[in-house]
């Protein structure tokens, strides 16, 4: 893998990628997954959620996929399903690594981890 720099994601972006890393989701399911996986800390409204989605699609991190056919809860509103692109997956992996490093640093500073002898 060639090394490249990944931009830092904001919280909502992170949770959106996180949710889509599990499986392809449509808008409302995505919103619910974000809320659940952030323990209710992140509950985006429609506009914010979709703007994030749009930006990630423009950057090529997320794309629209053929969704599961079937239920159309509101007539005339077809559901679109979104999934991670390989770039999106890489970006999420880089962000997770960055967060892990940041978390490790924080724990070290707070004295939660013993110093190496």
């Amino acid at each position: 893998m060639t090394s490249r720099t990944y931009e830092i994601l904001n919280t909502l972006e992170y949770y959106v990628l996180l949710a889509l890393a599990h499986k392809a989701l449509y808008g409302y399911a995505l919103k619910q997954a974000v809320a659940a996986e952030s323990d209710g800390a992140v509950t985006p409204r429609a506009g914010s959620l979709y703007r994030v989605l749009a930006r990630m699609m423009t950057r090529g991190l997320v794309h629209e996929v053929e969704g599961g056919a079937g239920d159309e809860p509101h007539p005339g509103l077809d559901r679109k399903y979104y999934a991670l692109t390989p770039d999106g997956r890489d970006t999420l992996r880089a962000e997770a690594g960055r967060l892990r490093d940041a978390a490790a640093l924080a724990e070290q500073r707070l004295g939660l981890v013993e110093r190496a002898p």
């Binding site: 808008g27 409302y28 409204r45 429609a46 506009g47 749009a54 509101h74 509103l77 077809d78 679109k80």
Partner: protein, 891 residues
């Protein structure tokens, strides 16, 4: 709440909204529903918060777009993608809908296929014959030069003479190049082939005028004599196996040994496709003798010169000819009346068939119009039944474009099916059409279903889809928010508005009537023509020509002996009743013409009339059934170089000796004064039509015997009366082979065949129009039936109420029939008015009936009304059998 929430989406830019609107709306509606379930306040709070979010996010999106951050080109592509996607979706939907209604689909696509197929087939003929440019260079500058001399005995139009051609070619500076040509039929012998071929006789200038180049060898030049010949590509292929060594070889062509100097390219045909080779024609410019109108002239005009300018330049050149050539009186008289006619070569070559072909294209165009009206009708009815569905979709936010698009998808799909079916029909039909087409349509052999025809089919299909789909689609896409959703719409009393469908019925009735009137006029012309008595029989007569060869055939007497002996052999064949011969056969070649004088004309100094003449032998008059009016027929004693007897037709007798008995009178050709010979009339016979049945009156015709002073007949047409006229050809061929193996038999016809041929163009046009108008009548009737059936089904309740209140079945029937009658009557009026204008284009094809013949107009209008009433009667019966109780429960 959905509309309000949907309104919030307006805060976002359009592209963003279109891409994500549905998803956002789903979230908003689901969250709203959840909030609502916990109370009104929460719901209100939710709406306000969501509104603020939408406002903020929308503003942010507009200021700092995440989604519209595309280049305008991307944007355009994206938009187009969206549109295509929508169309694709609508087409899928339409496919499902049509599959669900197989009856409707079959009927409409079938109707369209028939109409589109007919249009494609006729168009492919029109394209090949009329529209494609001639296979010559710069065809728009090629003209044909002919002339007319009103008031003279010459035909309405005729060709040029040698000296006129030379004068035009050398002195008219608006003509850059010119050639003179004619077509003859003569015998060609090469290798082991002997055949009668059509041969062009062309001056050397003809090829450069046409811009033609040879495929092989060279073209004739001004230095060549008449022993030089150029082959057509097809003759080179079929006779000589495309052997290049044919150049320089000499063959016996038209009685002379001629050398092949070149082979033309495959596409070169001139003046028509029958011509197999071109003999170099030489004009002896040093020793021109005036007169001899006949050959055709082709010329290339200077750039920008129009036909009137050229004609104006030629007229004075022609007027000077008599003084140049030491005028004789007849020539000077004709030139005095002469006016040149300059028209495009294209018009000259295809002029005769142009009118009928456009008429046919117009006819099938009208059939297509009627078919479209029918399909439109079915479409409206079908769309009406989905009005509620459409109203719901509209209320749910589908925009009007989307509704029209989904309707048009169905129309386009049907038209595509019809177009494909039509192309298939044309594929099968074009070869049949070409085979059924009358002789003499130029370039008919190039007719085929090609790319141009397919593009035309596609265009017609799309146009048809717009014609039958767009109006219903627009109508239905605008159902009005209340009317569409209101249940049923079963109006009692108030007549539902169906002017659109009524208008379609009027259009159909009118169009069908135009076709009916046109075909009625043609049928009448055909009938009138077939009743014309041409003066001779056409039944049971077989005819053919041979051109005997042999060294002993060195005089008129020798030829005469040959023919008489051969006629004896023919008479001996089983089933042959009588045999005769004639120099030129009526309806085929006509007859020669010459200026004749009588003692009375000479004495009075009157103009010598132009009179047709021909030579006959054997039992010609008995065989052809031409009645003798007075005197006697020729017999063997007349066939003698020392005897000068003649027979005349009634018209010639009346013209030359008005009010007198023609028997014993004398006549002679102008210019034969020196011989001192006069021909004396021994018999008068009934007139015959020489050219075709359309002649206003028969020509004046003089008959001379087979053998006479200083002449004989080389290759006449034999006429054989036998009940086996259709079958006797092989026996006669065997006889010819026995008598003279080197002479091909040619111009083999039956007189009935010639009669049919002279009516072929009319019968072809008539048949096509009759089929088309029959089709139109049926389609029109089906259209009316469909509308009335629908109206009855809509008014079932009203009719039930009427019957419950005591209306009789008869009254109900009358009411429905009257409704159909009113619409049809309007259609008939419109149709009659249209036909009055349109049938004029048929004028040249009509015979014995005027273009505005009242009988035809009345009869066809009557037919249309009767058919319409029949079509109304079935729905009327259904209406009158309505059970009042049931009908009141239907809705």
């Amino acid at each position: 709440m959905r509309p309000l929430l949907a309104l919030l989406l307006r805060a976002y830019p359009r592209a963003f909204r279109e891409e994500f609107g549905a998803g956002m709306l789903e979230i908003m509606m689901t969250d709203y529903a959840r909030a609502r379930s916990t109370g009104r306040v929460r719901a209100l709070f939710y709406v306000v918060a969501t509104g603020l979010d939408a406002f903020a996010a929308g503003l942010a999106e507009r200021l700092n777009p995440t989604w519209t951050a595309m280049t305008p080109a991307d944007e355009g592509r994206w938009q187009m993608g969206r549109t295509l996607e929508a169309w694709a979706r609508d087409f899928m939907h339409a496919t499902r809908n049509l599959l669900r209604a197989p009856g409707f689909t079959l009927v409409t696509a079938g109707t369209l296929a028939l109409a589109i197929g007919a249009n494609t087939a006729i168009f492919s003929v029109v394209d090949a014959v009329l529209l494609r440019s001639l296979p010559y260079a710069d065809t728009d500058r090629l003209v044909s030069v002919r002339g007319t001399a009103p008031g003279s005995d010459l035909p309405d139009e005729f060709g040029v003479t040698d000296e006129m051609f030379v004068a035009y070619r050398d002195n008219a500076d608006l003509l850059e190049d010119a050639g003179m040509y004619g077509v003859v039929q003569s015998t060609a012998r090469a290798e082991d082939q002997v055949e009668r071929l059509f041969m062009g006789r062309v001056t050397a200038g003809t090829f450069p005028t046409l811009g033609a180049m040879p495929a092989l060898g060279r073209l004739p030049t001004a230095d060549d004599d008449e022993t030089v010949v150029v082959l057509s590509n097809w003759l080179w292929n079929t006779w000589f196996g495309a052997d290049p060594d044919v150049l320089g070889r000499a063959y016996d062509i038209a009685g002379t040994s001629r050398t092949v100097v070149g082979v033309m390219r495959p596409e070169f045909r001139f003046p028509d496709e029958r011509v197999a080779l071109w003999i170099n024609m030489v004009i002896e410019e040093g020793e021109l003798t005036p007169g001899g109108f006949g050959p055709s002239m082709v010329a290339r005009t200077a750039p920008g010169a129009d036909h009137a300018d050229v004609a104006a330049q030629l007229a004075p050149l022609a007027a000077r000819l008599p003084e140049q050539f030491g005028s004789n009186a007849i020539y000077a008289r004709i030139i005095g009346q002469y006016r040149p006619i300059v028209r495009s070569l294209r018009e000259e070559l295809v002029g005769d068939v142009e009118g009928p072909l456009w008429v046919l294209l117009g006819t099938v165009g009208i059939v297509l119009l009627i078919a479209c009206a029918n399909v439109a009708n079915l479409f409206i009815v079908r769309a009406e039944s989905r009005r509620q569905d459409l109203a719901v979709r509209k209320a749910l936010g589908a925009d009007r474009t989307g509704l029209i698009r989904s309707q048009m998808a169905e129309a386009l799909l049907l038209a595509a099916l019809g177009g494909a079916g039509g192309a298939l029909l044309a594929l099968v039909g074009v070869p049949l059409l070409v085979r059924a087409a009358p002789e003499g349509i130029p370039r008919i052999e190039t007719v085929g279903l090609d790319l141009t025809a397919l593009i035309f089919t596609a265009g017609v299909s799309v146009a048809a889809a717009c014609a039958f789909g767009l109006v219903p689609a627009i109508r239905v896409s605008n159902p009005g928010p209340v009317g569409g959703l209101r249940q049923g719409g079963g109006r009692v009393g108030g007549r539902p508005s169906h002017w659109g469908r009524d208008a379609l019925v009027v259009l159909q009735t009118a169009s069908a009537l135009v076709l009916l009137v046109a075909s009625g006029l043609l049928v009448q012309s055909f009938w009138q023509l077939s009743r014309v008595d041409p003066g001779f029989d056409t039944d049971d007569i077989f005819t053919f020509q041979i051109a005997p060869t042999g060294e002993d055939l060195n005089s008129g007497v020798a030829y005469g002996r040959f023919h008489n002996q051969f006629m004896d052999r023919l008479r001996a064949l089983p089933g042959v009743e009588s045999v005769g011969l004639v120099q030129e056969l009526p309806l085929d070649e006509g007859a020669g013409a010459t200026f004749m004088q009588t003692e009375r004309i000479l004495a009075s100094g009157a103009d010598e009339p132009l009179i047709r003449y021909t030579f006959v032998g054997g039992d010609y008059f008995e065989t052809m059934g031409i009645d003798v009016l007075s005197g006697r027929r020729f017999d063997h004693t007349d066939e003698d170089p020392g005897v000068t007897h003649a027979m005349v037709g009634r018209a010639a007798a009346d013209l030359l000796w008005p009010g007198e008995d023609a028997i014993g009178q004398r006549l002679r050709p102008a210019g034969a004064e020196e011989s001192g010979l006069w021909w004396s009339v021994v018999g008068v016979v009934e007139d015959v039509y020489l050219e075709d049945f359309r002649q206003r009156e028969p020509e004046a015709l003089v008959y001379l015997p087979l053998i006479g002073p200083g002449y004989g007949v080389g290759s006449p047409a034999y006429v054989v009366k036998t009940a086996r006229a259709d079958l006797i050809a092989p026996e006669i061929r065997a006889l010819v082979r026995e008598v003279d193996p080197n002479s091909p038999m040619y111009r083999i016809f039956t007189m009935q065949g010639l009669a049919d041929r002279s009516m072929a163009q009319l019968s072809f046009t008539m048949l096509t129009l009759a089929v088309a108008s029959g089709l139109a009548l049926i389609l029109g009737a089906v259209g009316l039936y469909g509308v009335l059936s629908y109206v009855v089904s809509q008014r079932t309740r009203e009719i039930g109420v009427r019957m419950a209140l005591g209306a009789q079945a008869r009254q109900v029937r009358r009411m429905v029939v009257a409704q159909g009658g009113r619409v049809t009557l309007l259609g008939v009026v419109v149709g009659v008015l249209a036909a009055l204008g349109i049938t004029r284009v048929l004028e040249t094809m009509l015979f014995g009936v005027g273009a505005v013949d009242p009988f035809t107009f009345v009869a066809m209008s009557g037919l249309m009304l009767v058919v319409a009433l029949l079509a109304s009667y079935i729905p009327a019966r259904r209406a009158s059998s309505v059970d009042p109780m049931r009908s009141l429960r239907t809705e």
